[in-house]
Amino acid sequence: MSTAMNFGSKSFQPRPPDKGSFPLDHFGECKSFKEKFMKCLRDNRFENALCRSESKDYLECRMERQLMAQEPLEKLGFGDLMDGKPGRN
């Protein structure tokens, strides 16, 4: 297995995140949503697909408290959760 320590070859170029940095949730305003999401992961063997509703709720919490720029949830990959029709895609 190759490592990232390839002296002389091209190095990994980190890229900034598309939508910038999350402000810190200094007051833990969305902590309960994070806890629900983490519990979902632990209960579902860390399968992201089964916890998308919880991750959507966490991001909505941030948006409601100005801890994240408002964005339509469809653009954040939650389109299939919005129209109530499971199995689309």
């Binding site: 980190p14 999350f22 991750s55 990959g77």
Partner: protein, 135 residues
Amino acid sequence: MVPVKDRIIKVTFNADVHASLQWNFRPQQTEIYVVPGETALAFYKAKNPTDKPVIGISTYNVVPFEAGQYFNKIQCFCFEEQRLNPQEEVDMPVFFYIDPEFAEDPRMVNVDLITLSYTFFEAKEGQKLPLPGYN
């Protein structure tokens, strides 16, 4: 963006701090299973155990190297200064997806593990940070 549901990838998480930064910094999950095209959320946690405010700034790395181009962070906590007050502890989310084109790249055919590593440095005025490959 359509998820490629038959291509499950395990993403694992590392957390490091540079020697001069006295934060406790760790991932809140060891791994998460995703598919290309599906947005995913993961958390790190950072605590400043000292009695002074400390400002950190982080960079990240993705291995295997070739998979890094498909790893897209929608939003995270990197590259901007983050200030933690004395004894403060915060959740640090990463919201990301693996580009669906990952599933079309023949070089990725045997890649089913991607590791995301974040390293925090202390941000001090006038100090040039050793962020390899990033200017």
